[in-house]
């Protein structure tokens, strides 16, 4: 690094890149395969999954959330695991969630986990009037995690 003069053959050494494999990840066709799983990291903090039978509705995930994104909502289609368990289940507002994983760390029954799924986008329809559009957008990003992505677990509490 001492001399700052570039020797005249340096540009020729750049020709070796012609025969090297490009390190671009052509996303829709091929996926990131750096880890032992294809795609994102095996510990990725993506969209939540929640085992509704194991969850006792204690609400500590809602209390610990720094973005105030989790709401405990009464759910009819779930029966309490034992005498003390409640029937409220966490509902996550992805317009607030910062994907920090603190709710997963504090869940006593390890029912709330994070999957490796992360794709979700929403296009507000042209028909919705401007006044109602913010509400419909917020509406679309609030849902109750259940076992849909449970086959692809990412950030779980060990």
């Amino acid at each position: 690094m001492v001399n700052f003069k570039k020797n005249s053959l340096a540009p020729i050494s750049a020709l070796k890149y012609l025969f090297k494999k490009p390190h671009t990840v052509r996303y829709p066709k091929e996926d990131l395969n750096v880890f032992y799983l294809k795609g994102v990291s095996p510990r990725y903090r993506g969209l939540h999954t929640n085992d509704l039978s194991k969850c006792i509705g204690c609400g500590s995930c809602a209390k610990v959330c720094p973005a105030n994104a989790i709401m405990m909502v009464e759910s009819k289609d779930v029966k309490p695991a034992n005498k003390f368990a409640k029937t409220v289940r966490p509902v996550i507002d992805y317009g607030r969630c910062c994907f920090c994983g603190q709710c997963v760390d504090v869940c006593p029954t390890r029912s709330l986990q994070m999957s490796r799924e992360y794709i979700h986008s929403f296009h507000p329809k042209l028909s919705t009037s401007s006044e109602k559009e913010p509400e419909t957008v917020v509406e679309d990003f609030i849902w109750r995690p259940d076992q849909t992505h449970a086959d692809n677990p990412g950030y779980v509490r060990t």
């Binding site: 609400g59 809602a62 209390k63 105030n68 709401m71 405990m72 909502v73 759910s75 509902v91 849902w143």
Partner: protein, 167 residues
């Protein structure tokens, strides 16, 4: 490091070490300029930051000047207390020109008048008409609910909105 602490105690100030390379000094309001220029002469040439803590229960603001000396690797935290209603403080621009920017920020967020600072115009916030935002009696949630027209309750999420069904 203890040499500095002893010297400062000799000057009738209350100083105690925090860690093996950081000590703090609490100084009455009038002697701040004297202590800062003394520290600057004994090697604390780098001005690190000026912070302000709002002790609303005791009705005082606490200004924290943080200096660093590169020769003997020390950190000096100089603290002083000023009263909370119409707080004024003399500006340290004569010792470090750098203080002009830090004092302008503390003026905007706490409302402290720095006598001698040429430029205390608004800095980060645009047409701000309320009380300075970092004061303890400024409620940021009520402000943002009022300005951005949305309703939020303070109990960190333990509530049951009615219209949610799972997707």
């Amino acid at each position: 490091m203890l040499k500095h602490v002893e010297k400062l105690r000799g000057m009738g100030l209350e100083a105690n070490p925090l860690k093996d390379w950081e000590f703090e000094v609490s100084v009455p309001k009038e002697r701040v300029a004297e202590v800062l220029s003394y520290l600057k002469s004994t090697g604390f040439k780098a001005f690190i930051h000026l912070a302000c803590v709002d002790w609303i229960d005791e009705g005082e603001f606490e200004l924290v000047y943080n200096l660093e000396s590169y020769e003997d690797a020390l950190q000096a935290v100089v603290k002083t207390r000023i009263p909370r209603n119409n707080p004024t403080m003399e500006s340290m621009i004569s010792i470090w020109g750098l203080c002009q920017v830090y004092e302008r920020e503390v003026h905007e967020f706490f409302g402290i008048e720095f006598v001698g600072n040429p430029n205390l115009k608004p800095f980060f916030l645009e047409n701000w008409m309320d009380i300075p935002p970092l004061r303890k009696d400024f409620n940021t949630l009520v402000y943002s609910e009022e300005l951005f027209e949305f309703k939020e309750d303070e109990t960190h999420g333990i509530k049951a909105p009615k219209r949610i069904e799972h997707k």
